[in-house]
Amino acid sequence: MHVDSGDTAWVLVSAALVLFMTPGLALFYGGMIRSKNVLAMFIANFATIAIVSILWAVVAYSLAFGPDAGGHGLIGTFRFAGLGHAHQEVPGYSLTVPPLAFAAFQMMFAVITAALLTGTVAERTKFGAFLVFAALWTIVVYAPIAHWIFSPTGWLAHKGVLDYAGGNVVEIDSGASALAIAMVVGRRRGWPREVIAPHSLPITVVGAGILWFGWFGFNAGSALTAGEGASQALIGTQLAACAGLLGWCAVEKWRTGHATTLGAASGAVAGLVAITPCAGFVNSMAAIVIGLAGGVIAVYAVSMKFKGGYDDALDVVGVHGAAGFVGTLLLGVFASRNVIPGIRYDGLVDGGGLHLLGVQALAVVVTIGWAFSMTWLVATAVQRTIGLRADDAHEIEGLDTALHAEAAYDFGNVRAARMGGPGG
């Protein structure tokens, strides 16, 4: 195995960039909820970083990227458990970076995919129970899907499914899982009758900016080399985010008469989601079309929850699920061996026929089916045993003070507080 120092430096930096996306996500989500639940959102995201990272090192990395168990492409063995045998080649890859750099980079993907689900269950979920759910979910849902698609030894990868940085593994996966857990946890009290409006959109926009910044590590880092592939992925990522932003704002200006700040932030994220499966596989002009499609579809998709009656609080289904779906299918249209000679099939536009589109559609169906059904099972198991849903009284009071004994904001100076003894 030849280790290239430039490639290694880029992948290590990308791991840090992708890690930073999860605090960014906490800001993005935190601004969109009511001020009484902001800290609950932040701690859920930070603690998800902690629990999924450790679980990844202990076992989940091995299940996703370890040597295949039985050669069916269904799941990895425990050979890399505890990050053991870390000097060995990652099966199916010919990396120019140390396997540990790859494991660290992929760790951050597992973290943010689980963290995305904090958005759908916002404002009504118990902290500890969510962490138990996130741990089980990483093993039962994330690791297998990552093995099928990201690992070249996986059964969907064998069929020629392409996913540059996680359109299936991260975006459709989290979207379908979000729908399932939203149904298990149930609606927030008063939704959709009462006004449950964002408390601080500036926080949300800062969070979207951090996500955008981190996404360069997410997509361009997925080249796993610091060369032409990463450069194409990075420029495609930027163009798609811009097109998504403009697409969302244009549609809402036409529909409601206003281009909104939340729409601009959401559109950029939708564009980023849509380009994620495609980043290094399509040319720059195709990236604009894909980002635009992501932004435009997501504006409509976020309204589905009102018709469907499920409280996907911060639109994980509508943004990540829908834009991930669009991007994954459009890859079957725009994938090009002129951009990256290593892939097996061209998309429709370059004369590759329907084959790639067909396997991409298969991957979408499989991912949705597995993620939805297994998430529903795991969430139901947690709900029936330790309870995932917060008490009504805690939900009404606000999770920050009720569950965490803290308040996010203290702007006034009228506060009758005094020092209590230890423990009260």
Partner: protein
């Protein structure tokens, strides 16, 4: 003594304060409040979902004055706060039984 309470548009606060100072008022209390009258609220849109927000931000001014000044102060506030548009607010006068300056213990008109 009388308590003059005024609900006005926030951007009119400076005008009202200047007018009251010119009239000779030495102190007042201001708070940020929300409410609705004939102006009603406004609509906000988040990811396509429209919310009707019923309360409008206003400023409440409270001034305690001697009986003889109540009408004059009321007139000064109404003149300074007026834009002629809907939502200009209201001013009302209520009797005050007693008033004490905390520092000195002075009572009644001496405490104003």
């Amino acid at each position: 003594m009388k308590l003059v309470t005024a609900i006005i548009k926030p951007f009119k606060l400076d005008d009202v304060k200047s007018a009251l100072e010119t009239y000779g008022i030495h102190g007042l209390t201001v708070s940020e409040v929300q409410g609705f009258g004939r102006q009603k609220g406004h609509t906000e849109v988040y990811r396509g979902a429209e919310y009707q927000v019923d309360f409008v931000p206003k400023i409440r001014i409270e001034v305690v004055v001697d009986d003889g000044d109540a009408d004059g102060v009321l007139g000064v506030i109404v003149k300074a706060a007026s834009t002629g548009q809907i939502g200009d607010g209201k001013v009302w006068v209520t009797p005050v039984d007693e008033i004490v300056r905390v520092r000195t213990g002075e009572r009644g008109a001496d405490a104003l």
